[in-house]
Amino acid sequence: MEEMEKAKTKAKSYPVRKVIAPLILSLFAIVWFQFSKVYLTGADNIALREANFAIYVTPEQLQGYLEATAWTCYIVVYVGLIFFWYGLVRYVESKEVSK
């Protein structure tokens, strides 16, 4: 019975990692998009300058990638923030209950 109570108390304590993880995912999405916009575009320009067409990507394809990444980034960030907010509320609730 005592073990069950302990288990119940443990279950009520909302893990911090569940609050932070969606935030990190959102940040990752933003960083990825910015990296793509700055560095991959730059790398493609270098490849064009060196006439290395084995690795050069056409502007249409690169723009398509950036557009798809931007949309994906928006979705991941919004969903991530929703889950972050939900996690934060649950965490605060669990702290109040344990007090």
Binding site: R17, A21, L25, A43, I55, Y56, L62, G64, A68, T72
Partner: protein, 413 residues
């Protein structure tokens, strides 16, 4: 006889943004389903030698068979032109066998194939982060130390074909034709034995389990109900009500997906990519180009190091970006989402620190092996069955050999 065409023919009229987006979606599905189903090619093979279970290996054969059936039927009925099926067929040579052996050994030592490495890394397994890093280093080692020699043998035809495409296309090899009939017949020659063998292996394993236990296994009922995914044993036949409950539990992420359910979804995912990417790009699921090569290249870019300017392989075999880039990123996002929402996400560090060293070294071998073999268990082996090529068979053989050796080595460690 006319040489088969080597000009891609798009099926749908799509913008690149749509193609990248759809590949991203397919990656998300791949990561999500693989995480929920704990789908691991390495585990399917180690099980043969450790637990003498052919259940998961049977599921792999089913995966290959269903993929070949799906892509083959679409091509045979003219939905997808044959050239879009064989255009990206790999070269075939000594490097497929040697590379797959090294890959199988390294992956079994490190604890995961390319697919499981990524989804477990996304679920918080530090072991697999180390393996991934080792893989990047291994890719670099391959690029500077092995690729120049391998490239030479490929160009010179030393124990190697000198081109890809229809040269390794089984309908062309068997019937000297890429007609619908040739593709149709070859599809069944490839797919049916794989599907039948897969079903047989699963039936045989379940049958043996049933006999060895007399139909029952002890266990706390509560815990057993919590986690008994995979194929029900003879003692656990589902009623209609239990099936509904199982479906509900899977949708609410309370219960992992069964092996066969995951197999079917993954096969459909591969066929989806085959269709939407046809004529535009490498229209199959592929991981290693990105996680082994590109991401290492990307990590060094902010430091001002551009591997694509002066490093072998990086400067002639790896475009700056392609649809697999977003696919792999979304694979990680999908796997993370599945593990997070199911409550499985946690940073996990092995207690035995020796495992981290083994993980790194195994990862390096993975990196070397997959680049030698021109791809991994997903991008080469599984994909090649969809391409109706024969490299997949060679890779399967080599990988089994490598896994077997790794199991024997692990027993002595």
């Amino acid at each position: 006889m006319a040489t088969p065409s080597m000009i891609l023919q798009p099926v749908f009229s799509e913008t690149w943004a749509v193609i990248f987006g759809l590949f991203g979606l397919s990656g998300f599905i791949l990561g999500w389903v693989a995480q929920r189903g704990n789908y691991c090619f390495i585990n399917a093979m180690t099980s043969i030698f450790t637990t003498k279970s052919l259940e998961r290996f049977g599921a792999l054969l089913l995966l290959f068979g269903l993929t070949a059936l799906g892509t083959g039927i679409l091509t045979a009925f003219g939905v997808v032109p044959a050239v879009d099926q064989y255009f990206y067929n790999y070269f075939a040579g000594w490097y497929i066998l040697v590379g797959s052996f090294i890959f199988g050994f390294g992956a079994a030592m490190a604890g995961g194939c390319n697919l499981s490495m990524l989804y477990r890394a996304s679920s918080g397994y530090v072991q697999n982060w180390i393996e991934l890093f080792g893989m990047m280093i291994g890719t670099y080692v391959f690029a500077v130390a092995i690729w120049p020699f391998q490239s030479y043998t490929m160009q010179a035809g030393i124990l190697s074909t000198t081109s890809g495409g229809y040269v390794e296309y089984l309908p062309y090899l068997l019937f000297h034709s890429t007609s619908s009939l040739a593709v149709y017949v070859t599809t069944f020659i490839v797919a049916l034995p794989l599907i039948l063998l897969g079903v047989y292996f699963q039936w045989r394993t379940r049958n043996r389990w049933g006999k060895s236990l007399g139909g029952s296994t002890p266990g706390l009922p509560g815990i057993r109900a919590l986690g008994s995914p995979g194929i029900p044993t003879p003692a656990e036949t589902s009623s209609g009500l239990r099936l509904k409950q199982d479906v509900k539990d899977m949708l609410l992420l309370r219960k992992p997906y069964g092996t066969n359910l995951s197999t079917v979804i993954l096969a459909l995912d591969m066929i989806f990519v085959f269709l939407v990417g046809a004529g535009y790009t490498f229209n199959y699921l592929v991981i290693t180009s990105s996680d082994g090569g590109r991401f290492f290249e990307y990590i060094l870019m902010p430091l001002g190091i551009n591997l694509f300017t002066n490093t072998p392989w990086f400067n002639d075999s790896l475009p700056i970006v392609d649809p697999s880039t977003l696919m792999v990123v979304m694979l990680c996002v999908g796997a993370f989402s599945a593990s997070y929402l199911s409550g499985d996400f946690k940073i996990r560090i092995p207690k035995d620190k020796k495992r981290l060293v083994i993980g790194f070294l195994g990862g390096m071998l993975v990196g070397i092996g997959v680049r030698m073999a021109l791809g991994c268990n997903v991008g080469l082996m599984w994909t090649n069955f969809g391409q109706l090529g024969y490299d997949g068979y060679i890779f399967l053989l080599g990988m089994l050999g490598g896994v077997y050796l790794a199991v024997k080595v692990q027993e002595r460690l």
